[in-house]
């Protein structure tokens, strides 16, 4: 007899096999992080229920059981290895095993060269991810599967992590997309993450076996895998117990049950977890704290029978919808806090209906709406004003502290903070990918540990040793929490530790502050999360400053909107709000149609909302084109001009054959150079088109590193495109150095741009059938270049001569210069035109490849839609003289950023917005430096992080906040 235990991240499984390896006993239980207790419990039960188990050999598997196993004298078996043993025993002939667990995703290739893969540092595509998504959709996990079966279409959703996916799903929900379609899309995201992230170029074929909780319980998820892999995988009986069975099969030692149960019960890990000082020294300190915070109080008044003028404010946020009715004296007449459940229109309608029900005579003077759902709500209900969230929050904060210097709002899924300088919003921080840690984060933990959020948070208040958990991804926090528990931390310590980590996340990751002086001493905190006293205290403690939190901290957006509508009203006596009245609500109809725009290559997915009376509202668009049916004007947007300019380098028939150039990374700038070079040499130069989703997917399976930046990942698709075209020569050189533009200390490319051809060579098999030409070339040394280029090209084209290459090189350098001068001339025109018409100029800065529409997601168009002119960093970088930076200025592209920031600082009519690709290591350095250059000169720094998929809602908030801060909105 053999016994195996599998301690997963959320559950414990136990399996007993008889001597014929037949499963004779099994159990599956959630452990709520009470790992040791559960092990003891299960072992006791098994001992009572299975005869003869005392003589069984025992082994333990599962990451959460690692330390316990060792100290209790049970053999440990790595879980992937256990799976493999079980699969080989129970389903001989299995080629591939796909196993999804709580926090892990694994693929095992059993036949044709054993390979085992586990997800690395990013935990997307796992059970935890699916859990998070179900919470977001507000459906139980089981229902998610049922919903998905009813899907009609699928959307593209990033599955890298919950934060990313949320930013994709939320706008879809707000725009009225069907939950069934979203459920299916979530499953597809999981599939694509698993296949792309773990297969890494290896084909998944033959007999596929699905294991683990999510794949066992969700048949539609299996279907999605089947469809993508074009196979029919099996989910065997007992699929949940494979790891446990594998451990049993690997076991070789019997144990003394009572002794082990005893040891497990007394198990204390190393006992030394890092901790912080307690939040409160004693009860007295706590009482003082409560008393102080009770001062910021909004008075309430009965709505029923209220005769005065009323103001309505609504905040349609990402996960919650808040709405208030204020009296003319700013008292709260009515308020409502609702889970958005994906349909803000329905919620606001019911809110208004309730208000009219309670007070049918209500005299509404004005109204305003803010938040993600601003546009749709404003349209649906004819709200008087729509305002950007930051303005709403600022208006509210001012009400409690007129000289407020810093506002921080931590909501369910968002962190928003801004500084106030001279009465205007000066600097905005929003949380981004890989900086989760908001309210829902605490909620998730509370639930996982079996508590309500209120009880859980309160437990932390008097914790003696708040655990130091750092500040990173929620999923990894899970493992750290489990470790701390094993090391003896109490629930109280963990609760306080989590509150602290929320604060640290906000301070050090989102705001990047180190001392209160950077924030200012006058701070207002708000958002539902700050209603949690432990978080509030942790914030004050960490920053060493006393802050103001009102009793309506969770409603501040709506409150601010109402106040704003009050401020805006000119005639407080007689004004009449345009907001929907009861009659309108009675006949309210809302239909949704989803379609693709198709008017340009962004191909936005449009949600067309039609309201009563034929009123239409289109969401999901980046520009005005689907509404006006007119192409946006490109003459104020250098990004469009660059694309236009590059598309002029068309293939010219040549005597020497065809050269293919992948249109990615540095090619976005060097295409003119190489096009001219090879065209002069008699080659027909074909380049892949600008990126789109399809191109990305073509190469997705061959990406070896899931943490590399998206622009690099796209390169795989471009190479595949060229291969599919049957092009016999692909040219993609390695380049340590770029041109020296005299702006910095050196002129490197970043390692990824410099050497990505190596990755292509080593990971894309297709290139072996053609000439993949990837010499190391140095265009920075024009004198040496022809000779060196000839040396490396002669291998492929023996009849090239030095004379020819010299002439071609000369023309190439000239072409590159030409390209740049055309660019700068147009840039100057845009700037001049803007100057003449008093228009603001946004210097949208990044890298040359950020003009790729698939990379920038149409952000340039979105920005120019705000009636501003858009130029790029390379247009203005030449206008700035070389200057000294506080960092080593050694990359050509980045030197332009610093120069641009320096130049922008000299002009009142220019603002810099920096595009940053997620995963760009170099930008950890450039963003801080660009920010410092700008802030030194009292300019606002705006950063937009972009990745595979980007939430344009957040981008809009940033841009609108920026424009309103400089008084342009």
């Amino acid at each position: 007899m053999k016994l195996g235990l599998d301690i997963g991240s959320t559950t414990i499984k136990c399996a007993v096999l008889d001597d014929n390896n037949k499963l004779i006993y099994s159990t599956y239980q959630r452990h709520y992080s009470q790992i040791t207790e559960k092990i003891g419990e299960i072992l006791s039960t098994v001992k009572n229920e299975v005869d003869g188990v005392e003589n069984a050999t025992v082994a333990l598997s599962g990451s959460a059981g690692m330390g316990v196993a060792e100290s209790c004298g049970i053999d440990f078996v790595q879980e992937v290895y256990a799976t493999r043993v079980a699969a080989n025993t129970f389903i001989p002939g299995t080629d591939v095993v796909i196993e999804l667990g709580g926090e892990d995703a694994k693929i095992l290739f059993l036949s044709g060269g054993l390979e085992v893969r586990m997800n690395g540092t990013c935990a997307g595509g796992t059970g935890a991810f699916i859990d998070q998504m179900a919470t977001l959709l507000n459906v139980p996990l089981e229902e998610l599967d049922e919903l998905a079966k009813k899907h009609e279409k699928t959307y593209t959703i990033a599955s890298r992590c919950g934060v990313f996916a949320k930013t994709d799903i939320q706008p879809l929900l707000n725009q009225g997309a069907r939950k069934a379609d979203i459920a299916e899309s979530i499953f597809n995201a999981v599939v694509s993450q698993t296949v792309a992230g773990l297969a890494q170029g290896r084909e998944i074929e033959g007999q596929v076996v699905y294991l683990g909780g999510p794949l066992t319980f969700m048949s539609e998820l299996r279907n999605c895998f089947d469809k993508t892999l074009k196979t029919k995988g099996i989910c065997p009986e007992n699929s949940l117990y494979y790891v446990a069975c594998g451990a049993a099969l690997c076991s070789s030692k019997t144990i003394d049950f009572d002794e082990v149960i005893g040891k497990v019960k007394n198990y204390k890990g190393a006992g030394n977890f890092a901790f912080n000082p307690p939040l409160f020294e004693n009860e007295e300190e706590y009482n003082k704290f409560i008393e102080r915070h009770n001062k910021a109080y909004v008075e309430t008044k009965e709505l029923k029978g209220y005769k005065g003028r009323a103001y309505i404010g609504m905040d349609s946020g990402s996960t919650t919808v808040k709405a208030v009715v204020l009296s003319e004296n700013c008292e709260l007449l009515y308020s409502k806090y609702m889970q958005s459940k994906g349909n803000p229109v329905e919620l606001i309608k019911s809110f208004l209906e309730e208000v009219y029900e309670i007070n049918p005579e209500l005299d509404i003077a004005s109204s305003a709406v803010t938040g993600y759902g601003e546009d749709i709500i404003k349209n649906a209900f004819s709200v008087d004003y729509g305002i950007v969230e930051t303005i709403a929050h600022f208006t509210a904060a001012k009400h409690f502290m007129p000289d407020v210097q810093f506002v921080i709002d931590i909501g369910g899924q968002d962190i928003k903070c801004f500084k106030i300088h001279n009465g205007t919003i000066d600097n905005l921080f929003l949380n981004e990918a890989c900086s989760s840690g908001c309210g829902s984060f605490l909620q998730t933990f509370a639930n996982a540990l079996g508590y309500s959020i209120e009880d859980f948070a309160n437990k932390g208040i008097f914790a003696k040793h708040p655990v130091d958990l750092g500040s990173r991804c929620t999923v990894f926090m899970n493992s750290s929490v489990k470790q701390a528990q094993k090391d003896g931390a109490t629930i109280e310590d963990i609760s306080a530790g989590l509150s602290l980590s929320v604060v640290k996340n906000a301070l050090y990751k989102v705001i990047r502050a180190t001392s209160p002086d950077e924030l200012g001493r006058r701070v207002v905190v708000q958002g539902g999360t700050f209603l949690n006293n432990a978080v509030l205290r942790a914030f004050e403690q960490e920053m060493g400053v006393e802050v103001v939190r009102s009793n309506i901290a969770g409603l501040m957006g709506a409150y601010g909107a109402a106040l704003y509508s009050m401020e805006k009203v000119k005639d407080r006596e007689n004004s009449k709000s345009s907001i929907a009245d009861k009659a309108y609500l009675d006949n309210f109809v809302h239909t949704i149609k989803v379609t693709n725009c198709g008017l340009c290559n962004n191909n936005c997915r449009l949600t067309i909302n039609t309201f009563s009376g034929g009123k239409k509202f289109i969401a999901g668009n980046r520009c005005e084109r689907p509404i006006t049916k007119k192409a946006p004007k490109n003459d104020r947007n250098i990004f469009s001009y660059k694309l236009e300019l590059l598309s002029q380098y068309k293939p010219v028939e040549g005597r020497r054959g065809t050269i293919g150039i992948p249109m990615g990374l540095n090619m976005y700038e060097l295409l003119p150079f190489w096009w001219r070079f090879f065209t002069e040499l008699g080659f027909k130069v074909v380049h892949s088109p600008y990126s789109n989703r399809k191109i990305y997917q073509k190469g997705q399976q061959t990406i070896p590193s899931d943490t590399v930046c998206f622009p690099a990942k796209l390169m795989h698709g471009h190479i595949k495109w060229l291969l599919d075209e049957g092009i016999e020569n692909i040219f993609y050189p390695c380049m340590s150095y770029n041109f020296d533009e005299g702006l910095g200390d050196n002129h490197y490319n970043c390692p990824v741009v410099a050497y990505y051809p190596e990755v292509i060579k080593n990971n894309m098999k297709g290139i072996r059938d053609i000439n993949f030409i990837m010499p190391y070339l140095g265009i920075h040394r024009p004198k040496d270049f022809p000779k060196k280029a000839l040396e490396s090209l002669q291998r492929y084209f023996p009849n090239l001569t030095l004379g020819e290459v010299k002439a071609a090189s000369k023309a190439a350098y000239k072409e590159y210069e030409n390209y740049f001068s055309k660019l700068r001339i147009r840039g100057d025109e845009i700037i001049n035109e803007a100057e003449q018409n008093g228009r603001e100029i946004i210097v949208l800065s990044g890298r040359p490849y950020h003009i790729d529409p698939e990379i920038n997601h149409g952000i340039d168009k979105l920005i120019s839609g705000f009636n501003v002119s858009v130029v790029s960093e390379d247009v203005v970088s030449a206008r700035a003289p070389e200057f000294h930076t506080a960092v080593l200025n050694q990359w050509t592209y980045h030197a332009r950023l610093y120069a641009a920031a320096n130049y922008v600082s000299t002009r009142d009519d220019m603002q810099l917005v920096q595009l940053v690709s997620f995963g760009c290591g170099v930008d950890a350095i450039t963003t801080d430096e660009v920010r410092e250059i700008l802030e030194r000169n009292n300019k606002i720094y705006t950063q937009i992080k972009i990745d595979e998929i980007t939430n344009l809602g957040a981008v809009k908030i940033r841009i609108r906040s920026l424009l309103s801060a400089i008084g342009r909105e």
Partner: protein, 424 residues
């Protein structure tokens, strides 16, 4: 406190007065054996260098506070460690300078020193000068990397490499536990004493010592039971520093493995060779080529000694630079020089070839060159050598040790199975 002087760009200099006033120069430790030996080289030249070897979660916490959180993990740790040291009260912050290396390559690492200065400013230590330990980057009137000093440092690295290699090869098999480490400590003591006097760095002296050192290790009584042999490669800091890799060496030792960490000499050769390759690839000055060649040849000579004496006493010698360079040719081009560049790939190939097929490739989360030379090359390495059993591990402040160890255990389970097959 000495008078604060700045260069034309406003960089605080390490002045002669500071040196004369006996400023303590704090530098982060990395490979403990090597750094212990090298310390006295600096002391001998009049620099009161101290390598900070603190550990614990507060180091990363301090780093997170003062450095951009997306910066690579080594920068975060090193800066966190130095600031933590300054804040500890153990040093007179008005008589302390800091020193870190600066390679000047196209990787983020060249910027550590600037990030450190930014962090010092944030933490209120603007009076603390930072010395760049580099060839031809920043200059300081009070600190000179002279040829004699360089030669002594190189000698220290040679001793360090040899001691590390020998103890790694004997420790897992020694009959009397602790004997190998005792020898390491003994030799470290002897060599540091020598360095304090300024001796034992000349090639002839090195040869004599290597002979004696190898001989002493050969005398350790061992029992050669087959063990899983694991090679470790990676970004240099994470590869060697226990602070950076959650004490990976100890973990592997506890798992009953024999560990092989390719030495620092290979990295030194690689960095000098890059300058030669640059000229070969893109053209450049002949004089510079000559100077670098002299240094390169000297390093190769030292490398030859390590190989000669480890071989002489029956140890597995380190892979010869020229050989591993040849190995990597079909996989990564010689122009890939940023960070550990092609050397990292080459080390994996060499390890797999010499019986250390089980490999941990350690890198900071999001390490740029390792997208190319680490993760990006694994597929090709396995194609060339199907036995290679490689796991790539990311390190950063948020990556829990449990998850890392679990992935390494998976690699080890496969390695163990292979070992059992061989011994059947």
């Amino acid at each position: 406190m000495a008078e604060l002087k700045y260069d034309k760009n406003g960089r605080l200099l390490f002045t002669k007065e500071m040196k004369d006033e006996g400023y303590t120069i704090l530098a982060p430790s990395m490979a403990p054996i090597h750094f212990n030996i090298v310390r006295n080289v600096f002391v001998h030249s009049g620099y009161k260098v101290e390598f900070v070897d603190t550990a614990g979660p507060e180091i990363a916490q301090t780093g997170l506070k003062y450095v951009h959180n997306d910066t690579c993990y080594p920068a975060l740790l090193v800066i966190g460690q130095l600031i933590h040291a300054l804040q500890s009260g153990k040093y007179d912050v008005n008589k302390t300078a800091l020193m870190i290396t600066q390679t000047g390559g196209g990787c983020r690492a060249s910027n550590y020193i600037f990030l450190l200065r930014k962090a010092l400013k944030k933490a209120g230590f603007e009076q603390v000068p930072v010395i760049s330990l580099s060839i031809g980057m920043e200059k300081n009137p009070g600190f000179h990397l002279t040829v004699p000093l360089i030669r002594r440092v190189l000698a220290g690295l040679v001793y360090g490499d040899v001691l590390m290699l020998l103890s790694n090869q004997t420790k897992p098999y020694e009959v009397n536990k602790g004997e190998s480490m005792n020898l390491v400590n003994e030799w470290t003591k002897r060599l540091t004493d020598e360095f304090a006097k300024g001796d034992s760095y000349r090639p002839k002296e090195i040869e004599e010592y290597l002979d004696k050192i190898c001989e002493s290790f050969a005398r350790i009584e061992v029992r050669k039971t087959p063990k899983v042999k694991v090679g470790v490669v990676g970004e240099i800091y994470v590869k060697y520093a226990r602070l950076g890799n959650n004490d990976l060496e100890k973990f592997l030792a506890d798992q009953d493995c024999e560990v092989n960490l390719p030495g620092i000499m290979g990295f030194a050769l690689f960095k000098v060779d890059n300058r030669l390759e640059d000229i070969k690839l893109y053209g450049g000055s002949k004089a510079k080529f000559q100077v670098c060649s002299v240094l390169f040849n000297y390093l190769e000579k030292l490398e030859g000694m390590i190989i000669k004496y480890t071989k002489k006493y029956g140890f597995t010698p380190p892979g010869e630079y020229a050989h591993i360079k040849k190995l990597v040719k079909p996989v990564i081009g010689y122009g890939s020089k940023m960070g550990e560049g092609w050397l990292l790939t080459a080390e994996m190939l060499e390890l797999a070839e010499s019986g250390y097929e089980n490999i941990v490739c350690a890198q900071p989360f999001g390490c740029l060159p390792n997208h190319i030379n680490g993760k990006g090359a694994v597929r090709k390495i396995k194609e060339l050598n199907p036995k290679a059993n490689i796991v790539t591990i990311d390190y950063d402040p948020g990556a829990p040790k449990v998850n890392q160890e679990n992935r390494i255990k998976l690699m080890l389970a496969v390695g163990k199975e292979e070992l059992e097959k061989q011994n059947k």
